[in-house]
Amino acid sequence: MPRIYLYDIAHGRSGDKGDTSNVCVFARKPEYYDIILREATPENLKNYFGDMVKGDITRYEVASLNGMNFVMHHALGGGATMSLRLDSLGKSMGSAVMRMKINVSKEELESLLESGVKLMPFEDPYAEEK
């Protein structure tokens, strides 16, 4: 099955509240929203982040915006003030979420490309099948 970056069909922004990271995610076009709902599940994100996010991940959907908020607890190495990470505020957590690879069917990929989705350069959606 082809795999693409979430970034290819979504955009968003990360913020922080203490040690909690809040990443909002929106579909670049309304017709991509269902793929994002299917692929960017809290479970998939939790598996993807592994040790980086120590607490629970909750997803709050806002269908009227074709968007959602991910609230990730104990995700910033202690939070703004205490974190030893270079990015103590988790400003890069948004792009870290967007870096997750998601599964799309061959047909979905074709219609995504047709609707104007531009994949990241040097990336082959079929790389893992080769």
Binding site: C24, V62, N69, T81, L84
Partner: protein, 462 residues
């Protein structure tokens, strides 16, 4: 139909005043609201005030913004609301008074709001049996964390997030500028709208609209094309980035920006800020109203103009958020840089050598974080660390951060870094100079009963 426009003039303490000055000169606004306070800012200000009692507020509000454009704002009747008072509202008021006198602005009215700083009330609240529950673990199964009991003797500051009422009163009393300490960011924006439209304190839907206007403006440029993931390349004239403006009538709510400046206002730029740091969109708690944006809409209306709708409000909570800053310990950050070939391998090996040395020196660190700038210091575990990427790396900076509650333990690593330039793997060079020990302050987010606060507004006429 009556329309009120507010500009968002500042995203944090240290932000550029350029966009605010531009708005005063060029935009059709009646109010400018400037948010200077991030979560940790008050702790930094509290520490400054301990060293020098005349400090502890954002002086650049006066020395840069008012000095440059305060007279013009006064003449155009653009009223300014800001939390630049930080930990020293009185100091900020004094500074504004001196400025207004020097500018010979007779009759200039400085409004200010007190009552957010409740550090002195803590012993009484403890005696009354209030337990200061931690909000850090709210909504999470994780119950690890700090108890108030552990930190109560190490507190730098203790400030409640106050709402819009007393800010609104100062505006009603004719203030040209209103200064607050830890008012909730969005309350600075809600207050002028509530004053102009006469919204009652339980007009939840309207209060929620005012709060969301504030939410879209309180981060300055981030609401107008700054930090824009959708398409950062598309943002025009970023060196003159405009900040967002909210225009509200009884029926409509639109976001736009000043003429003749950079940045952009699009459906996507507004959406990215709309859910930013909101957590649960159906329950966005503020001191003024519990906001529900779970069915909100954001629609492009024209060039640099977006309409926002579907915002609901519910009754505000009985408790008020309290931000407690306390001394946590100390940290050092040490760095060495390496170039191709084997940039990462050498950096990694160097970190191992240093940590072995520190083990021999008996360093008692409470936490150590090692990462490699250029490879994984931002995306950590999800960064691409494939053999191809590592082999082709041009350069890599080893970064070791050490935390300890004991300052001396934290300092032990400092003299061990520079010798590695001659004694370590090939090609190490110093990056960012010699490390120094920095104080680590932490936040304990909690709540207090609303009636424990005594918030008041005052007017000083120059």
């Amino acid at each position: 139909m009556k329309k009120i426009a507010i500009g968002g003039g500042q995203g944090f303490w240290g932000d550029s005043p350029d966009a605010a000055i531009h708005m005063i000169r060029k935009a059709d606004i009646q109010y400018l609201a400037c948010d200077y306070l991030a979560e940790l800012t008050l702790s930094i200000m509290a520490r400054q005030k301990i060293k020098d009692p005349t400090k502890g507020f954002a002086p650049d509000f006066v020395t840069r913004l008012l000095k440059e454009a305060g007279r013009e704002a006064f003449e155009k009747k653009i009223r300014i609301v800001t939390n630049a008072g930080g930990m020293n509202v009185q100091g900020c008021v004094d500074s504004i008074k001196s400025w207004a006198e020097a500018e010979n602005l007779k009759g200039y009215k400085i409004g200010y709001v007190t009552g957010d700083d409740i550090k002195d009330k803590i012993p009484q609240l403890i005696a009354d049996g209030w337990e200061f529950p931690s909000m850090d673990t709210a909504g999470s199964n994780d119950t690890s964390g700090v108890r108030f009991e552990d930190i109560k003797d190490k507190i730098y500051n203790c400030n409640a997030y106050i709402g819009h009422e007393q800010i609104q009163k100062a505006i009603a009393d004719g203030a040209d500028t209103v200064i607050t300490g830890r008012a909730a960011d969005s309350a600075l924006f809600l207050a002028p709208f509530a004053h102009e439209f006469g919204w009652a304190d339980d007009d939840w839907d309207n209060l929620a609209r005012g709060i969301m206007a504030g939410h879209l403006l309180e981060c300055g440029g981030q609401g107008a094309g700054g930090n824009f993931m959708y398409d950062w390349r598309s943002v025009p004239d970023m060196e003159h980035l405009g900040f967002p403006i909210a225009e509200i009538t009884e029926d409509t709510f639109e976001i736009t920006k000043a003429p003749d400046c950079g940045g952009l206002i699009t459906e996507q730029s507004v959406k990215e800020q709309f859910l930013y740091e909101v957590l649960d969109p159906a329950n966005y708690y503020t001191p003024d109203v519990n906001v529900d944006i779970s069915h909100a809409t954001v629609t492009q209306k024209g060039e640099n103009r977006v309409s926002v709708g579907g915002i609901k409000g519910n009754e505000r909570p009985d408790t008020i958020k309290l931000c407690v800053g306390y001394h946590k310990g100390w940290k050092t950050v040490s760095m060495l840089s390496f170039a191709w070939p084997d940039a990462y391998e050498k950096a990694r090996y160097c970190a191992d050598v240093i940590m072995k040395k520190m083990q021999e020196r008996g360093m008692k660190a409470d936490d150590v974080h090692i990462s490699f700038i250029g490879l994984d210091s931002l995306h950590l575990g999800v960064a691409d660390k494939s053999p191809e990427t590592i082999a082709r790396l041009n350069e890599c900076v080893m970064r070791i951060a050490v935390f300890s509650e004991d300052k001396a333990e934290c300092a032990k690593i400092i003299p061990e870094i520079s010798p590695l330039q001659l004694n370590g793997p090939q090609g190490a060079s110093f990056f960012g100079g010699r490390a120094h020990v920095q104080e680590v302050m932490a936040l304990y987010p909690t709540v207090i009963p609303r009636d424990a606060l005594k918030v008041e507004s005052h007017i000083l006429t120059v």
